[in-house]
Amino acid sequence: MKKWLLTLLSVLVLLSMALVACGPQEEATETPQVAEEATEEPAEEAIEEPAEEATEEPAEEVEEAAGALKEVPREETLVLGWSIASPLGVTNPWAVPGYTHQEGNTFLWEPLYWFGIFADEEIPWLAESMEYSKEDFTELTIKMNPVAKWSDGVPVTAADVVFTFEGQMSDEKLPYHGQFDQFVESVEAVDDLTVVVTFKQPAPRFMFEVLMLKFDTGIPIVPAHVLGEVDNWNEYVGDLDMPHSGPYTIVSWDNNQKILDLREDWWAVEAGLIDTPDVKRIVMFNLGGQIGQNMDVVAQRIVNNEMDSALDMRSDLVKSILEQNSDVTTHAGNNPPYGYLDWWPNSLWVNTQLPPYDDVRVRQAMNRCIDRDTIDEIVYEGAQIANVYPFPLYPGLQAFVDSPEVQALIAQYEPRKFDPDEAATLMTDAGFALNGDGLWEKDGETVSGVINGFEGIHSDIVPVLVEMLLNCGFDASVNFGDNAFQNMVDGEAGFYMWGHGASLKDPYAALELYHGKYSAALGTTAGSNRWSRYDNPEYDAILDEMAPLASDDPRFHELAAQAMEIYWRDVIDIPIIQWLHRIAYNQTYWVNWPTQENLAAGSNGAFWAHTGQLVVTNLKQAQP
Amino acid sequence: MEPVLKIENLQVSYYTDAGRARALDGASLALNAGEKLGLVGESGSGKSTMALAMMRMIKPPGRIEGGRVIVGDTDLTTLTEDEMLKTRLEKITYIPQGAMNSLNPVMRIGAQMVDAIKAHDKSLSKAEMSEMSMDSLESVDLDRSVFKMYAHELSGGMKQRVCIAIGILLKPQVIIADEPTSALDVVTQRQVMETIDRVQETLGAAIILIGHDMGLMAQFVDKVAVLYTGRLMEVCTVREMFTNPQHPYAQALIRSLPSFDNKGVFHGIPGLAPALLRLPSGCTFHPRCQHATEICTTTLPRLEQMENGRLVACHLYSEQV
């Protein structure tokens, strides 16, 4: 028996060696340069003094591994966890389908201005200045920073801005085509450093909404001398060497990670806008295709100091991280709710054109079924997250809701009130009756209460909402399927859990989501964040009057309060929660993360947002 | 002359859930070199058990519980497991019952012969072992080319010959052939039996032929031993058995054979053989025996030698001793 046991063991050993050998072999094809070197070097090593090999080997291995890349110690490397889904090599911001800035490309591209939300500060960048040159907001003059240049040494000029704007105007596949089409009359380069934009109508918010990069909105400037040369910029991939103005360059990109190294000749340092960043290398570790999956592994990696930060997490997970590693902090330090307010408060949206949701009594009844105190208590451990507004309470908006006008409306409409009895009365008035299963029914049909949501980000709140609605007699259930989004777009019956990414400073952008002009008819596609298909001429008139007014105009405030009244009166959607970004910041290697106590560059702390560049370039190496 | 095979009081039991089954109880035999013994009995009478016990191949839940098997001057029951491995094929050999399936289908015949030699004598060279094997094949009237063939390429008779060739590879003193011709057609049966006969004569080995074909026995063996429920009932020469069986069971057995006298009439033995687990008391044959008396139901008769040297286990003849 011993003999065959040995035979078996040796077979096992052989096979496990085969495993080692054949696992990564394919990498040879992906990085041929490295492969060539690797075959040469070990041979040399073997000849040279085998005795010392053992001690020398690790060092040499590292060198060898970095054959194509220079070696950067962990202390100078920032490791970020994110789900990278875009195809390898796509760096061109105009490639379609786009939306690659969240996956590390934000470190490549820069805007005219940044907006730092927590400092409430507009930060000039590629432009030295940008202002409306006519009082009625019909002309905008942009002065470029003369030092700015692309990574290939070509200066960034007014021509690039004109190219970028005109591209948006002409190409309907680009995301801001709609805005440019609506507002912009013409774009003109007065000289190398000056651009004048003429608007078709007053555009008091265009500069902020479109030209400044913040959160996930705004446009970066693209190089005219590169994209102007390609046949079809929508299909131009860009690859790793596409000239860009940002501080980092992608040096390695595979399915596991994207590695970006600091460009020593970054113009912004020369321009004196910023010190040379401490972060010499960014490793964006791919967490997998689905946002929000396996987050416990991500959390553990942060606890283990393997990662410095990752995408935002559910409250419990962040709490557990903080308990397990004292070097980790969050925007709110060690205190609940651990995060900062994102611009994406979530509502339960319904299609207001579709029975029974077209009946305001039904919508009000549903609102009365949501127990926002229980949500705070159960899902968010007592943090005040549950919400009654379609916008985040950033300072400007907090001031707005604190105004006596809005407070009076709250007292009148009690949007937060949980009252199943009132809900029952409303439903009975609307002609519904409870059936044998305890569900509201009319003409033999229950309310199709499927909540379309997104598992990675809604798996904590949606099941709770389902139960609340069920307990109240609505036939609720969950759909976390891939068709959830499409159901919203198509206006299928049911509820849609979705956010409002719109207002940051004043309520206009959020309120404008319900403008009748977006009220796509049944059977057509609703634009993003316009799921309610609300159509009310009274409301539209208010909004139209607001459009050309500056936010600090007293009339603007008056009109905004009127619109808010309609929002609550008609229950256009059912606001559920403020959206928090709970991002763990590991301070073992890096400090100066943007937090409540330390604004850093004043941006929010999401490294994946457009302002991620500000987060990373302001990090400081931790002093051991 | 000293017998080449001596079996003394061999006892085998199987232990089952329902209790102990005595599959072989006190079998004793002696065989001289060159002697041919036929071992007969109904199915389940313990023939194969006896053969396996001689090879010391009884497996759990069976157990050899007593007695001795002496080949030449070696008592097999005292050997260690390793010594016994060497003894098989070298001193005592077994030619299996189901020759159709007794050869490994995925190994060449030669390889199956060589590994047998190798297991006993590692000193031989490969060529020597091949040569030995092919000689052995020739001695059973097979072509030397069979060495390179697979079992499925051979006919039934050829396979049986291969088994014989393997059995006599190391020129054993005792050969046990367990129904070597079952499943063969009559002509082939005869050829195979003749081969065994010739081989045995050349080797001068003693042979035990197991089977229930009395006709075949009559032609090839010198002596016959009758087994019933694991007990030897009678041992005598072939001639005596066919002309004058003594034990009532042997008589019934002979009577049940088709012959010219009773053609067309089938004489079965009345009743069924009892299950080993529930053997009747006394003589195990008594429930089926026409001559049973009081003593038969209580006392087990012993195998005793009669005047003419025959061995019979029956109370009818106890007085004769």
Binding site: A18, L19, E26, A65, A68, G289 | P96, N101, Y150
Partner: protein, 331 residues
Amino acid sequence: MSIRKIIERLLFLVVVIWTASTITFFIPRISSRNPIRERFGQLARTGGFSPDDLEIIIESYNQKFGLDKPLWEQYADYIGSIARLDLGVSLYQYPKTVSELIQEAIPWTLGLLVVTTILSFIIGNVLGAVAAWPRAPRWLRSIATPFILFMGVPPVLLAVFLLFFVAFRLKALPLGGAYSIGVVPNQSLKFYLDVLRHQLLPALALIFGTVGGWVLSMRGMGVTIQGEDYVLFAEHKGLSGFTIFRDYYLRNALLPQVTGFALALGNMVTSGIVIEQLFGLPGIGTVLYNAIKANDYLVIYGVVLFITIAIATLMVLVELLYPLIDPRIRE
């Protein structure tokens, strides 16, 4: 082995591929979902797309992917492209082709699934054979029992618990990923060992979760074989236990098992999908998992087809090569 048989088997292969492609083509079309709309709907999160623009983009892509053609035409195109070994383009990772995705992923899957299937096959069959071998010592025979019990543990469940205990609690092995963060793939021994360390837990989960099946079937087979006359005769020949075990018993008992190997690989894929995803390994399983989640239907088709073809080919190959190990089937 005759040419005729080879042609017959190849025809069988073609029929299998055709069946699989037909199934994968028609089933997703039962539903009215439009993956392109869904994909662009997700993109619309950026905020800037107007509804009209979105419709225009969707329309142009529908045309591009032929979704506006009648069903039978789409089917014909699809079968045609399969015949040209063109599996189409990923919607989610456009312009990446499905073949490229598979190519990138397949080495990892080969490294994990195939090696674990082989290991599981070897360990399971040896243990199963030993378990049925009456002459093996009792303790050795009883080793197989826990493995049989592991049959009741889905590999994914095992993976979850292994991940927790070994990686989270003991911190003995990495939490996932194909290799350490920040390491660039290269040909050094260090890199290989790093990869091996990362593959260990998923491999363990897969092996432990699947060994039981082999143990069980081999045990059944072994019981049958050890009663065969040739094994008994081999004992009568005075062969040593090891020789009988290896040449007479194991060799014969293994034959029917070999034919099950290809199918076992198919079953391994089932667990592999989730396990690769769970450990963040960039293999075929992860590609498929993500495609399922994103309803990237061309990738789903492509991967399902690819796996089917691989398994069917392996089956046919095993069948054609089988005579090499079983002389009875030759000529």
